[in-house]
Subunit: 348 residues, 4 copies
């Protein structure tokens, strides 16, 4: 930590800050310049940046280490690859997860799974416990939804990711799914994150709509510090003043994460855009910017979807997007499901 004193700081003020830093367990190096004093504080102590900043005579405090450790590229320089069966997230292949917002019925889930598989998705997505802004909206089918999703994923040889909203749901999600999804609203549900640190399956951690990248990596740190090394970050749009889109998908977060962390990062263009007609453009942009994967909502009859119909793609749109992505991926030395499974007559 570097503490920059004000020009007018008195000797007593400087000494008071030094004393407090030492009390916090830090070693302090003092550098007195012509116009002001700068203090360098190092060590294993716990120094509270905000608190030091409010002390009399202090102008500014700058941390010289990230507040996260295990999530940092300083800690681990090579990329983390999260594996789910033979799927490698964070490797050379761009992995696409797709499926409906919510499980609604066996027929709906089956049709969606078949459609996304055909287009080249590797992982099936779908919600059974739905965090809805209004208590009057459809809240999901619960465990019955998970059963439908698992059956459909199994039939199509897809892995499965679904959202866990609360510690009490960890057990049931674990029975049916391969990846725990933590939604944007729960990015700072620290009780949940801490429990998932003890889970034995990967965690897909969405960025909160107003979370800084540093806070996002600190939330990943909660999971990592519990012993679970398999965290997949997911950018899904931040809240800005612009109202033309539901959120502003922060594409620049992708190269920033690649620089700061070794963890894989994917994008969710469906929530980022909020409108079906913008999803393909944002999906292409995310892959071009270096995303390790995508998670996309696809529904065979989006006009009748019980949630997020506005942003769910038709299967034909998704097919076309996958074809476009196969052209883009090589520009950054990646591939994307180059040899999709041939159709084998599964029902729709």
């Amino acid at each position: 930590m570097v503490v920059v004193m004000e020009e007018r700081a008195s000797e007593a003020q400087v000494e008071h800050v030094v004393a407090r830093l030492i009390e916090m367990g830090m070693d302090v190096h003092r550098s007195t310049g012509v116009s002001r004093t700068v203090l360098g504080a190092v060590g294993q102590g716990r120094a509270d940046k905000e608190l030091i900043e409010t002390m009399d005579g202090v102008k500014e405090v700058v941390r010289i280490s990230e507040p996260y450790k295990l999530a940092s590229r300083t800690f681990k320089s090579e990329n983390t690859v999260v594996t789910v069966g033979d799927i490698r997230i964070g490797g050379d292949e761009v992995i696409v997860m797709a499926g409906p917002c919510s499980a609604e019925s066996e027929q709906q889930v089956r049709a969606a799974a078949a459609a996304v598989k055909r287009a080249g998705a590797k992982i099936f997505r779908g919600g059974a416990f739905k965090p809805r802004s209004s208590p009057y909206s459809f809240q999901g089918l619960g465990e019955e939804g998970l059963r439908l999703l698992r059956d459909a994923a199994r039939a199509e040889h897809l892995a499965l990711v679904s959202e866990v909203m609360d510690v009490s749901q960890i057990g049931v999600i674990d029975r049916y799914c391969d990846i725990f999804q933590v939604g944007a609203r729960n990015m700072q549900n620290f009780t949940l994150l801490r429990e998932l640190g003890h889970a034995r399956k990967p965690v897909l951690l969405k960025r909160g709509i107003s979370a800084t990248i540093e806070e996002w990596l600190l939330s990943a740190e909660y999971v990592l510090s519990g012993g679970n090394k398999d965290v997949i970050l997911c950018e899904r749009g931040i809240r800005t003043f612009e109202t033309a889109t539901r959120n502003t998908l922060d594409i620049s977060a992708i190269p920033v994460i690649k620089k700061l962390s070794h963890l894989p990062v994917i994008a969710d263009p469906s929530h980022g855009a909020g409108r079906r007609d913008m999803v393909a453009a944002m999906a292409r942009a995310a892959v071009a910017a270096g995303a390790d994967g995508l998670i996309i909502e696809v529904h065979c009859d989006p006009e009748r979807a019980l949630s997020d119909g506005a942003q769910s793609m038709f299967p034909a749109q998704f097919d076309r997007l996958m074809a476009e992505l196969r052209i883009i991926a090589p520009a950054i030395g990646r591939s994307i499901c180059l040899e999709p499974m041939p159709r084998r007559g599964w029902g729709q």
Copy 2:
């Protein structure tokens, strides 16, 4: 719901939208103008605004009722007054809640309670379960902290509010506290909100740092719709581009809430400002704007606080602030603890 069609919308597109609205359970009134068609949809059905907006030929959709009901002034026009013992939140008196960020020790909690009582606070605040951005920060004393807080509050005849982070903590918080505080990060923890809808004590619901006022009222609706009518809203700062303050306390939210809802609304200038030297100005502003109360962090030795030391006021600053507030409150027809209890020799 009013659906405005595009100028170029075809008759088939209009009919398709009408058919879908009817299928959603709405009655549709069609108004064909010179340049475009406008549809009015009313009824008890479930019409998905975002979905209709993405249908071909649709230009814009506007809801004509709030998505929340019980929280709305349309539903209940007179102000709700939440009572805790003989304390009335939302009445003529501006109620001040104050105390340390976290319970740290018996001595610290006792001293803080005595200081805030003396200055005129009616409710003691303090955390035992702390939501911290970093897994390496102090996480609170847990139940032991609650016991310390309760003892100090009892000694000073103060009511007690403390944060509940998770459904699993509801029972223990209920045993020690008078008001459940839901923090900004949990404003959309719907599992928690739904459970608190069945609690028999008031809920102080902080606004999420990037929550719109509509989302905040929808979160209140989760609690209200469960049967718990005692929700106190708390503005605590939103996230903006400005970095000079930790957050931007959205003072304008106070008159907006007063217009839209009957629920009491208080402000948290400590988190809103994030720096001790800005807290008094923001507290005065909140009361002048019509807040029903304040929640303020006070610590007798903030430089040694285990959390939020930077924004905790010294007792002498808090005394002075209370004196200023007593001048301001009458400007809006309010009072603020005009006759504080005389000192009765409680320890410091």
Copy 3:
């Protein structure tokens, strides 16, 4: 400037940064710690923070002096008081500027001037050149509007402030007005600011809707560095994600400016709120937070105003607000036009 190197920075990288800093005219002090190197760079040189930050091996760069000088409290510790005739802005009295958004007609301007004078305003406001988002909106009466405003101000013994949009308008505004207003959209019109640095009348500089406080003070610096010492800062709302109000009036900017700068700061609750029914609450909040003044839109028939009718107060609302402000001001040791001029039969 303090340059913090990465832990893994090589000796060659450190030396390269040192060499570039010296080339930029800085003296460099090197401090090598156990895990990383920290460089302190001081002197009169021009060191580009952003550029140094992108150099290999650099983790972070922190400036240790504000980029503005003349606007800073470090440069001048006592408050600046701007005088216009016998009006002192930044002194003990809270100064209120009020009047219509635009000059529309002689009758309208006269009536507004009489109304605001009666309530205690000291300065008349009104626009003749209007910056409008749409080319199809009312663009103001130009010089004729200035003449009407001046005549009305003279009749009521009020000073006059009006907006200058462009260098070419400086001369005409100067002939009619006492204070040049620079609007939010022009806060970074550097050509205009530089010219106003040579003017002999005060400049009221509004904050841009997405300007940081640092950028705002840098814009003040453009005027100050040209020789014009009379800059009045005006907070008028920043753009955030919240749509319930037109902007979010950043009340916390008031205490922040008071800490960083010696310049007076006022608030514009009309543009900050954007709705007549929120203006009084925000005006009270601004004064309670320590604002040196207010600028408020008042119109005798706001429903027929040619611009900003939605946010213009009725005279009776303004009267009542002034009465409330007279109660609040003493809480912070201020007064507000304690003895308004008696009515003397000026026409309406």
Copy 4:
């Protein structure tokens, strides 16, 4: 315009609103439902949305036409192609503009022009009048800079774009450049926009850092309504809470503009990212999302650039980016300078 009345609105309130709408020149159609009244107002009148919204009994007002006309796809459905010599912006080819932030010297400008030409850029960029946040920063070489830029562009057969900051600079920019650039800070300098509406060369209009897309199109409308049909929109990053990047490049603005307007839209990843190591990722993302072009800062010695060195690419980075873009463009049916000019021994 559709006016939705409150449920509790009285008949007198409804009639008052109707009367005012008629007074504003609108035809009003009234629809009385079970719970509330909805008014449809059409015609050529001037109806002030914000004002109607503050009238007693009004719940919400929704406009049913965009406030801009000439910039809208409703007005002109086919894409506008802006031509500069044989360069077509908005056609099948993605056009790249590149060059230094500022003209600094003949050698620097020549080297940059040669480098960007070789890599496939069609238009040279460079500033002579620089809008700088601080009055103490390098402000550009003025007309001498324009001469250097023109000479370098001519030598490499490149077109030239440079920024105009003020009406007084239009003449000199016109003498040297092919395209007028209006910077983000001037997006609402309406005096300047109106004058450029009479210019005979294209205008590259950058989005303000906190401008909504609607405001941006309204600014384009100022130019278009003056008779100049050649407006190129340029997304360059918006201001959000995230501080890891200088701005957040709003990639989603690209598909939104394509939907709302017929004008070409390009992206500026240099200002959007603010750091050289993020520029390539954002440039690829913009093209993948459908941008008609890019404007990129390239400098042969960015560590010694007098402005924006941190975000200027090295020529070798730019070469590599152009190669990546050639792979991506076909994914969206575009090309990008497929046959760059052979090297012909120009300087370096």
